[in-house]
Symmetry: C2
Subunit: 331 residues, 2 copies
């Protein structure tokens, strides 16, 4: 992307783990769905004769997939859902395997439906004729389909509103340039690409009416999302522009706080090279955190499949329910 669209056939839990780690699939909701299929594949390929054997194989596959990326919580949540579905099923090994596949299918099917509900609630925040600034890709290419932040844009357009998008290119991996611009162009949605350091400029010029981004993990005190989100949130506050986060409740991890979450540090070559071209001198030190943390005080509201919530209301609404959604601890 964006010059070639390549479809990958992932045929084993190892394929799935590699694809997640190398970011051939990315976006918290999509990572969740793909991880679930990783366990479905592990189930189908297992030679176990009984439930304990199958669960042991599934736990090994889950450990492999869990170790790929530490920040997005949907990964842990989806693995846990499939494991629980198998645990809670009785019957022969074939029935248990079918339970794993069914649960993965359910997670994938639910994702599109949840995104459409996020869009339905979120589009009420998008005025006719407005311009939405978004960061990274929280679109169809980050989910099973439709998208979270871009799902809100799609829903606003389906509701008859004229909406334009400003997409930040999102260094180092350029998901805004390569994915967001691509999928919006393909759908005929007006999109203007900027470099990440132009956000203050376009806000000062009055070109942005609201910001909508996705999330990798929402904790009690704020939101983890793609590196650069925090800077945009501060710039939005300074320019009095509303800043919204759109994410399914599988992204909620409200029993934890920011101190409990590890921000993945990725390879320096993502910064020093673009594709295979070196853009920085050899030997230079580099930072490459994949995510940053935006405290709740910068967030106007969070849009889930259940509605639009101010940060304080989100805690009230999901404070208890969070238990049901919680996967194992990030590491």
């Amino acid at each position: 992307m964006p010059t070639e669209e390549i479809w990958l056939a992932l045929e084993s839990p190892e394929d799935i783990a590699d694809a997640i780690k190398a970011m051939r699939v990315r976006g918290a909701p999509l990572i969740g769905a793909v991880a679930a299929y990783g366990l479905a594949l592990a189930a189908l390929r297992s030679g176990a004769r009984d439930k304990d054997g199958l669960l042991s194989d599934l736990r090994k596959a889950a450990d492999l997939i869990r170790a790929t990326r530490p920040t997005a919580v949907n990964l842990f949540w989806a693995l846990e859902r499939v494991l629980r579905a198998v645990k809670n099923t009785s019957g022969d090994v074939e029935a248990l395997k079918r339970a794993a596949v069914d649960e993965a299918n359910r997670i994938a099917a639910e994702d599109v439906a949840l995104n459409k509900r996020i869009g339905k609630h979120g589009q009420e925040l998008v005025p006719d004729g407005s311009t939405v600034l978004t960061h990274c890709n929280a679109g169809a290419l980050a989910t099973v389909g439709y998208g979270t932040a871009l799902g809100v844009v799609r829903a606003a357009i389906e509701a008859g509103k004229a909406v334009k998008v400003i997409a930040t290119e999102t260094r180092p991996l350029l998901q805004g340039a390569r994915l967001t611009a691509y999928e919006l162009l393909k759908d005929g949605i007006p999109v203007t690409l900027i470099t990440d350091n132009m956000v203050g400029y376009v806000m000062a010029e009055g070109m942005v009416d609201l910001v909508i981004v996705g999330a990798d993990r929402i904790v009690r005190d704020g939101v983890f999302n793609k590196i650069g989100t925090y800077s945009i949130a501060i710039l939005a506050k300074e320019h009095k522009i509303p800043f919204y986060v759109a994410a399914p409740t599988s992204t909620l991890d409200l029993e934890r706080s920011s101190d409990d979450v590890i921000i993945e540090e990725r390879a320096p070559e993502e910064v020093t090279h673009i594709r295979s071209i070196r853009i920085a001198p050899e030997g230079v030190d580099v930072l490459n955190p994949a995510f940053d943390f935006t405290p709740m005080r910068y967030i106007t509201a969070i849009i889930t499949e259940d509605g639009v919530f101010k940060p304080g209301d989100l805690l009230k609404r999901y404070g208890v329910m969070a238990k049901l959604h919680k996967g194992p601890r990030g590491h």
Copy 2:
């Protein structure tokens, strides 16, 4: 840069204009010095027999060079200085040509001396053991030598302090990755490279003690500098980190305000491609302002060769003197 260091021989005013326009030379002070040499070359190559003829040739060359880039004021200031030097000289055509060359030499020689004075004043603001975040390249490669923002870092190190630098890569043209990281590594000054969207993150992590950037033009109400400067200034304010601008007085244009200055919009290919590689889909709209404007309220102090000035004091100190430095209006 950064993989090859290539020296260009520029032999005519046309060569000079092309090099400035294509940003083979860049940085406001260096553009000024190179523009002055453009007029010196025009003088040396002129076949004029008298002062009027020579001045006419010089004005034509000045028009050509002036039309390259609209934002940095040093360009206009340097052209005006050489034209004035010739106008104020009496004698034969050879003496007038010599006056043009002498004035260009003087501008170049002064630049290094001014930068060292900027460094001497500015280094007092840099605590021992501190980390300076800088944007773009305001170093030896943006000036005739030593640098403005990086001159302050060099002076602090020469004064025996331990100083580290965080350099933003500075999309689209990557002057931070290609030039700042390069010249600091070469001088053995510790430098860590980040993408532009990591600025909020490194500030929140407590990794930045102060920000120092250069300037392309300082007007009554603020500072024009490389796109992204404004965003960094807001982030610095939010994190209570001092934000300094280091620039020679030739960058001052205090009789004008931000409304009088045109921000250069450059080719979209600088954003959609890196070197020759396409990173965004064909047909996407792009913004590419080369500069942005940072209002004085975000600036802690401005460092010139004369000292360190709070924005209000700068206006008092240079309010009248600005007349002497003023070049023709930017267009």
